[in-house]
Symmetry: C2
Subunit: 755 residues, 2 copies
């Protein structure tokens, strides 16, 4: 009707007096007819009024009273309390248990043995004003989960972030880590990459420290005076090789049920091969100061008042680690509101409940929003609201060690999930600041719409508008030239990974942040006291998160047509494609340049004999690759996305039947699944999405079009050609799906459009 | 003849057996006929064998025995010793005295008075192993010359480098320096800019400290363990407003002779208006740590183990400075070898002899090379060599306070210098590493030729080739695509300034460095002990410098045609022109963007209310400018440069008469002079070169096409249009000169070419 009014050329002023039902200035609502949208908006308005900051605060206080890591007594209590909350909101709730391998430390020794003696403290002290940090008996000590057992004494070498490019720099300086213990700083990659790459280069142990420039005094006052990392603060964390596969290392690909067949621990390829320990900057400083050898390159230097050197000189350290490799029960809380008309379509939402210690920010700040959404939805049900599709809320256990709860659940239910999964919405903590989202690009338009409907508590503009302004001020030209603000691609680091990258469920990961700096991540200082002093102190962003997440869940649950839009997916694919073709060009040019410079003797002539640099190695020239299949598939997808969008234009005012739209929806919810590559990615079959994966050498950081991109990065040209074929096939499947969906949508709407 | 042989198509192999005189594989020698070049090369070979590292070492030891700053007893001794050396080499030598204003400290007090008490040490302690650093009675204390007297107590504000862009950041954070004392770190601009800009913003005092990240422990071991700045080390230095005019502040534009009319000190606009003091990082740390207020932006943070904050909070400091503003005698050493055929053409070479304290690196490492060149030229004279043109070697006094010796000399002799000056070659210290050069771009080809004829002592390739390799490895594409390696444009910071930018003499400034890092600049630790342990320890780069400089002097002194080449000048002008047209575009775009963002409310929406940022101010849109006169003049210059080069192609084998070439030479030596702008640059008439000036807000850093560029940077659009006119006129004069020179050269060579 709105479209019709426009086509009649009625003056805009007149429209304001039309009844609400036909007002054309209602913002669009993806997937809803005008009539459905009106009803939806009324329920959403009721929903948005419910989430209460005071309740979030109290729930956080309650869940962070004691350490609640995987396997802890209080962790089980938290799971049961969360279950009981869902039950009290009227949800059908259960705890689903798995049994997973989870090592905890028995012995931790780190000593400098030469040229001087120093024994690392490896302990986070109690600071005055925080009532939970003294719970020493229940706290997990500072360690990296899935480090190997080991007892090594070896020279120490500083490797910067410990990524492959850093080893190229070391090699040029004639420094090998073979037989050495490396010390890397946090940052520049996910932590698990550091020992993995160190091991590949022959190291026998690894230390990872938090440099004060990054989240300590360099950034601001340290806790408890300010939010940043105090000198003895340590970032715990997993070093399981999650870019190969996450979840229980003994049960890849299947749920870790009692009956599951388990690998021998020695055969679990994701367990780190060398001992690894995270340390504080107070413990790191004497070790780094003991290094001699070349001065570290400028970009490698941190904030300690020392000359950063590469080592080793006479610096030797003794590292001894021993773990209790026990099977540990894991408690996922699974709650559902059954769908009224489409019960076999699942709209899912999750946040983990386990922390490394008391875990207020990570993860409870996200979980308290999720609970308020659940309470609010329960309230709506009491007022008569019914979701068409089944809504499933999850509170995952064991996310910190390795996305255990979500991964085992997805693996256990993968067949059913691939049939029924419509959407997975993830959060993993929350803070003060700006909205951010990543996920399936067919949902980008949807994200832009929903974030237009929630108000930022600080500035009173829509949270989407605020984020756009941040991008604009930050110099992102698209912020004022592109219709939709781009969402990120997802790598890993939270529970979205099994849903998106293994099961192929359309997925989003959202949250607020950017004004909530601090240095308490994965330490005993991530407490209720810290969070309520330094982050979203009044839980107004908790409320905003509950509003955005709740609206997303409600809209997907009740949409006439699932809210996918393929134009942005197509444009994004073209962007990635441009990146990888450019990557081949720049790689080829770099190789040619280095070979020419070697032939010219440039490295030898430029070398400082007192600080010699080995020249880089000559390399085989990069071949051209046949990108044509990708370009063709991408063009096809663009055309079909436009066709779908044209058909979609008639939906709002059509009388398309639910049955007709159900056929379209059945296709749309397969939109990510058809992009799964049979057999998965090279070296890691568990990861199957053709567009998104955590980088094999970046960890959490995403690699888009990962098969092709990483093959080019690794200069595996034959593999790159193969992966182009697989990626092109995935895009062709997507394109065919969109074409079919467009055809069905044309049929559904054309016959029934209001004349 | 060589050209002729090629045109006859003789096989290349045959050429090798021709007599040396006609060998075509001799490298070219700009400005010499084949016959002259052969003679020149023989003399140059003799010359290159003479400079002796052992003598340079001994001369450095001799001249750094005691502090030798302007006005010091030992400074006068050094001048007299240098004079006597020249005399012993057979040069006609004299000392030329001027009397200049040179303040030295009487009172220096710096105290933190709130929130805690701290009194700055302001003293560089004696460290064990250096025999000269204990000469406390003769050392100038740590201070900035031409600071104002003052006694102020005021809040302290950290201003990063203290350049205008830093104040924009402060303003956005709501921080004013009005009535405050600023503390800036060294770097990011010449030091004198910091108090000048602070004063413009209302500050009442300024401190400048050396951050340890830049030249202290962040870079390597500190002296005496290594070459870097120890915690109490201080960089002395001038803060006279040299970008307005250098030299004696009381005698702008005229030599500071006894008879010269002098300004009242209060009318000397180059004297700083507020008290300024340089301090060590040991003295700076308690002051910086006392600041509260917003945390400094990441790029503003240094290497001290503190949270860098902007202040002021309750931090207040007391700064009291009092100086002895005395007239001081200055002793320039001027030595000459009279030209045999062209005595009224001056080929000049200089390096200063005054240091801030013992000054081994700065300036003696350059002066010892100059002395060895002089000795070697004296030797050649004894063997029968005669320069055609007069060679004048200078050892300048008072460079450190304000280029006093060279500026007063140039001002005193400017009329004669503009008639006779052919070339000025400057050095100002030397170190281990790579050759570098800056200066008149008509001499770029010449630099490339000479540096092809001197061998690098470390790698045994030509020093020019080595530099090219450094650029190549550093990613400078021109290093393998451009015939000549680019030379830098000159800003200021050494004695070339009055020659090039005031008198318009074709000028080069050269030296070696880049492998000689350290942190002793302008401190008591710049000593013979430091230099011989950490820089060019065996004086092999001293020898290389003497070889390059000596060859340059010899070639200009004896060239048939002065070695200018205008193609590179033209190409360089086009490059600068492209930069300034692009600068207008980007400035216009930035203004439009900010205005649009303001209109969109982007700054308000993106703002963090807990760390508020003021939005930038709306600005008037940038007008288009008429660059056509510049583009036309530049095209004209390109054509005429090509015409000159075509005529030049016939020189080597021509029998052009000296008289005919003298007419061309008379034009060539005016090549920079015709680019002087009558009346000079806006706000600073002393600076007249249309292409090169120190930046009004960068200090030493060059601004090319400064009139137009700075007007655009300052958004003074009307001024920019005016300056375009003046610059275009300068380029038109240059173009006309080149056209005339080409015409005369065609006449000189065409009639006489070997058939």
């Amino acid at each position: 009707m709105a479209t019709l009014l426009r086509s009649l050329g009625l003056p805009v002023l007149l429209l304001a007096v039309l009844p609400a039902a036909t007002r054309v200035d209602d913002p669009p609502m993806r997937g809803f007819t005008t009539a459905s949208a009106r009803i939806e908006r009324e329920w959403e308005a009721k929903f948005k009024a419910i989430p209460a900051p005071a309740r979030m605060r109290e729930a956080m206080r309650r869940m962070t009273l004691r350490p609640h890591h995987l396997g802890s007594p209080f962790g089980k209590e938290v799971a049961e309390w969360v279950r009981d909350q869902f039950i009290s909101y009227g949800w059908d709730t259960k705890i689903e248990r798995f049994d997973v391998l989870f090592p905890t430390p028995k012995v931790r020794v780190l000593e400098l043995v030469s040229p001087t003696k120093f024994t690392a403290k490896l302990d986070e002290p109690v600071l005055a004003d925080d009532p939970t940090m003294n719970q020493k008996a229940e706290q997990l000590p500072t360690y990296n989960a899935y480090s190997a057992d080991g007892d090594v004494t070896a020279p120490l070498v500083y490797v910067n972030y410990g990524v492959p490019a850093d080893y190229e720099q070391l090699e040029r300086r004639g420094i090998s880590v073979k037989g050495a213990i490396v010390i890397a700083r946090y940052g520049g990659s996910w932590r698990g990459i550091k020992p993995k790459v160190a091991y590949e280069h022959g190291a026998v142990g690894a230390l990872i420290y938090s440099d004060p420039r990054d989240d300590g005094f360099g950034e601001g006052d340290v806790y408890p005076a300010g939010p940043y990392r105090p000198k003895d603060g340590v970032q715990r964390g997993s070093v399981l090789d999650m870019p190969t596969y996450p979840g229980d290392p003994l049960t890849p690909g299947v749920g870790a049920t009692p009956a599951a067949k388990r690998l021998d621990r020695k055969d679990a390829i994701t367990i780190m091969k060398i001992p690894v320990l995270p340390i504080s900057y107070a413990d790191a400083q004497p070790l780094l100061a003991a290094l001699s050898g070349p001065v570290a390159p400028p970009a490698w230097r941190g904030g300690l008042p020392i000359t950063y050197r590469l080592g080793p000189g006479s610096a030797r350290v003794h590292l001894k680690l021993e773990f209790d490799w026990k099977q540990t029960p894991l408690y996922n809380v699974i709650a559902q509101l059954k769908g009224s008309t489409n019960p076999d379509e699942w709209v899912m939402r999750g946040n983990h409940h386990d922390g490394w210690v008391n875990g207020a920010e990570d993860p409870i700040s996200g979980l308290v929003a999720e609970l308020e959404e659940a309470r609010a939805l329960g309230e709506l049900v009491k007022q008569g609201w019914r979701p068409k599709r089944t809504i499933i809320y999850a509170a995952w256990d064991g996310e910190e060690p390795s996305l255990l709860g979500s991964t085992e659940w997805v693996e256990e239910h993968v067949t059913e999930l691939r049939q029924k999964g419509v959407f997975y919405l993830n959060t993993d903590g929350n803070g003060r600041g700006f909205f951010g989202a990543g996920g399936s690009h067919a949902l980008e338009r949807f994200v832009n719409e929903v974030t237009g409907d929630v108000i930022d508590p600080e500035t009173k503009v829509a949270v989407g508008k605020r984020r756009r302004s941040v991008e604009d001020v930050g110099g992102n030209e698209e912020a004022h030239t592109r219709k939709d603000l781009r969402i990120d691609a997802l790598g890993s680091g939270s529970d979205f990974t099994p849903f998106l990258q293994h099961a192929g469920v359309p997925t989003l990961n959202i949250g607020f942040g950017g004004e909530d700096g601090g240095g308490i991540y994965h330490s005993i200082y991530d407490s209720f006291a810290w969070y309520t002093r330094f982050s979203d102190t009044s839980f107004v962003y908790g409320k905003a998160l509950a509003q955005v997440a709740g609206l997303m869940v409600m809209r997907v649950a009740n949409a006439d047509l699932l809210p996918a839009e393929f134009g942005n997916l197509s444009e994004t694919s073209k962007k990635y494609l441009k990146e990888i073709t450019t990557l081949r060009e720049t790689t080829a040019k770099e190789i040619d340049e280095i070979n020419r410079q070697l032939a010219d003797g440039a490295f030898a002539h430029a070398d400082d004999p007192q600080h010699p640099l080995q020249p880089p190695k000559a390399q085989a020239a990069a071949p051209h690759l046949n990108f044509a299949p990708l370009l063709n598939a991408s063009d096809e997808l663009e055309k079909n996305a436009a066709r779908f969008e044209k058909a979609y234009g008639s939906l709002a005012t059509s009388a398309a039947t639910a049955a007709a739209l159900a056929q379209v929806n059945a296709l749309i919810r397969q939109g990510d699944q058809v992009m799964l590559i049979p057999g998965g990615l090279p070296k890691r079959p568990w990861y199957q999405h053709a567009l998104y994966a955590p980088g094999y050498y970046t960890g959490y950081g995403v690699k888009t079009m990962p098969g092709v991109r990483e093959a080019i990065e690794q200069k595996e040209w034959k593999l790159a050609e193969e992966q182009i074929g697989k990626l092109a096939a995935a895009l062709e499947r997507e394109s065919a799906l969109v074409a079919k969906a467009a055809q069905l949508l044309e049929a559904a709407t054309a016959a029934s459009a209001v004349p």
